[in-house]
């Protein structure tokens, strides 16, 4: 029987299939719909220090093969997260990864300390890559120095496993990945959504209230897969894949590119069964192809690995 157990730092998951931040709320919203028992971990909606109302609607528009969202980090804020949402999510039969976002290193430290203290939190994802809250000329996510500071601050604030979530919207993701690794990140989540927009021609205006949103779903898959390929080669901490993963084949591609785990997000909306179907699919694939553990799949499409396999 192949073993799906996957470890990232201190986070042990029964399957490499996680649920992506922002698509499962705090967890309980999807109770009875998603089979949490077959899921590796859920990543909560990103929490900020203060509650956020989010952006003006419309917040969603479909695109060919994808989805644009401009939620704008609507969340209950740190206090209510700790007081209400976390206790409500704790009984779910699945580890909880808390996603957090601050306006700078100080807030990231504050958030990491506060959620890191809680037993219900198995790990922390630092979200520096939401395209819907700020659009400066030089965003944090493409600034290795700023990212290094954020990760260092969070690292000092907590001993919990930390993953930094990168953005695909940069021409030099490797410098950011390096900076995060050097500053003590335990893992990298590769990657968030790409900025995009649609126009409502009938009303002659942007389809989203926020004008632009983040592109997710299968349309994004090849872009983030290429980033996983690139980053996994470059760093020695584990990479978690995210971007358009919807079925077993997609998950296998991300693992083969070098990801040790994958996150399912947008695919949940059409197929809430996707996480358990993918876990089953991976198990079947491993059985049919003689793999005993997820480790053996990781990077299997890489030259280094292929050469090894051929010599072996």
């Amino acid at each position: 029987m192949p073993e799906l157990t996957t470890r990232i730092g201190d986070l042990t998951m029964r399957s490499p299939v996680m649920l992506a931040s922002g698509t499962v709320g705090y967890g309980p919203e999807y109770e009875g719909v998603i089979d949490f028992g077959a899921t590796g971990a859920i990543v909560t909606k990103t929490i900020t220090v203060e509650p956020r109302e989010g952006n003006a609607p419309p917040r969603l528009v479909e695109t060919p093969g994808g989805l644009l969202n401009a939620i704008g980090l609507e969340n209950v804020g740190l206090e209510r997260f700790l007081a209400e949402k976390l206790p409500e999510a704790a009984p779910l039969p699945v580890p909880i990864v808390a996603s957090v976002a601050g306006t700078g290193a100080g807030q990231f430290a504050q958030l990491a300390a506060a959620v890191g203290e809680r037993d219900e939190v198995a790990a922390i994802e630092l979200n520096i890559s939401c395209p819907n809250v700020e659009r400066p000329r030089n965003p944090v996510w493409s600034d290795p120095v700023a990212v290094g500071e954020i990760v260092s601050a969070a690292r000092e604030a907590t001993g919990k496993t930390l993953s930094l979530k990168l953005s695909p919207n940069t021409s030099d993701i490797l410098s950011v990945a390096e900076a995060a690794e050097r500053a003590g990140a335990d893992a990298l989540t590769v990657a968030n959504t790409l900025p995009g927009m649609r126009i409502d021609i009938e009303r002659r205006r942007p389809a989203l209230g926020n004008v632009t949103g983040g592109l997710s779903g299968r349309a994004l898959m090849p872009v983030n897969l290429a980033l996983v390929w690139k980053v996994a080669e470059h760093v020695s901490i584990p990479v978690i894949g995210s971007g358009g993963i919807g079925d077993t084949g997609d998950a296998l591609e991300f693992l083969a590119a070098g990801a040790v785990a994958v996150q399912v997000g947008t695919a949940l909306f059409a197929t809430p069964e996707a996480p358990s179907e993918i876990a089953d699919g991976l198990r079947n694939y491993m059985e049919e192809n003689g793999f005993a553990s997820i480790d053996e799949l990781v990077g299997m499409a890489r030259e280094e690995r292929r050469t090894c396999a051929e010599t072996a």
Binding site: G22, T23, V24, G25, E29, Y30, V33, K45, E53, G54, A56, P57, P58, R59, L60, V61, E62, T63, G65, G66, L67, N69, I71, E74, G209, G217, R218, T266, L268, F269, A270, T271, P272
Partner: protein, 250 residues
């Protein structure tokens, strides 16, 4: 450009919970679309079955219509809250614009079964768009009354269905409760008219939806107590709670 609508009946099986008026279902209409499509329950022809009344709007609704009869289709539901039923002595005014009638049909059927007085006001741009025929038939004793309005006057009241509502409310002899569903401008007008008269009014709202369960915060509408999600806080809202300018603008 008169819209086309179809009535679909789904066989959901005995474990499927009985939908309440106002609730909706998320339907996996096509493999190549990222999102499911939400539709109001528009009837319960038999236990374990439900009707949807669907207007052809784009790719998803067309894909649904093109499925062979008997196709298996993924559904998630019943989702959302429900309409508040009226007191025994009040007249229920059902105000539907265009395909909005779909969201009121199950309510009308339930009220009819309970022998409540129903007065349905059905609007459309022009006569062929009117969907009043999907509602319970008018009765001789006036328990079920149906009136129609068209923007171009091609049938019934010449003007919006909100204008018709105003006239009806002015003439009404009993306490009323208003239920409305339709385009934002119609809902805003209905909300105004009922608010001025202190008549309780609920609206069934539409928003683009992803999760359907309150998780993604994609389907929000502005209310006096902040953004609420149409899928889990709604789709039925007391119109006094809505920020009408934002509803119309969004």
């Amino acid at each position: 450009m008169s819209p086309t609508s179809y009535l679909f009946t789904f066989e959901a099986g005995p474990e499927f919970p009985t939908p309440r008026p106002g609730q909706f279902v998320n339907v996996a209409v096509a493999d190549d679309l990222t999102l499911r499509r939400p539709f109001s329950f528009a009837g319960i022809p038999a236990p374990g079955r439900f009707d949807l009344l669907v207007e052809m709007r784009g790719k998803g609704t067309r894909a649904l219509a093109e499925k062979p009869i008997g196709s298996a289709v993924g559904v998630l539901g019943p989702l959302g809250n429900e309409f508040t039923l009226p007191g025994a002595d009040s007249v229920s005014l059902l105000v539907g614009g265009g395909i909005g009638v779909a969201g009121l049909r199950l309510l009308a059927q339930e009220l009819r079964r309970g022998y409540h007085r129903i007065h349905a006001l059905v609007g459309a741009r022009t006569s062929p768009g009117l969907l009043h025929h999907v509602l319970p038939s008018p009765t001789g004793d006036g328990e079920v009354l149906i009136e129609v309005a068209t923007d171009d006057g091609s049938e019934g009241f010449h003007g919006t269905v909100a204008g018709l509502l105003e006239r009806v409310l002015n003439e009404l002899d009993a306490p009323a409760r208003v239920y409305c569903c339709g385009p934002p401008a119609m809902i805003a007008a209905t909300a105004d008219i009922t608010a001025k008269r202190g008549v309780p009014c609920e609206a069934l709202l539409e928003e683009m939806m992803a999760c359907g369960v309150g998780a993604c915060r994609g389907c929000v509408v502005a209310t006096r107590s902040g953004y609420k999600s149409v899928c889990s806080d709604g789709p039925v809202f007391d119109t006094n709670e809505l920020v009408l300018e934002e509803l119309v603008r969004a």
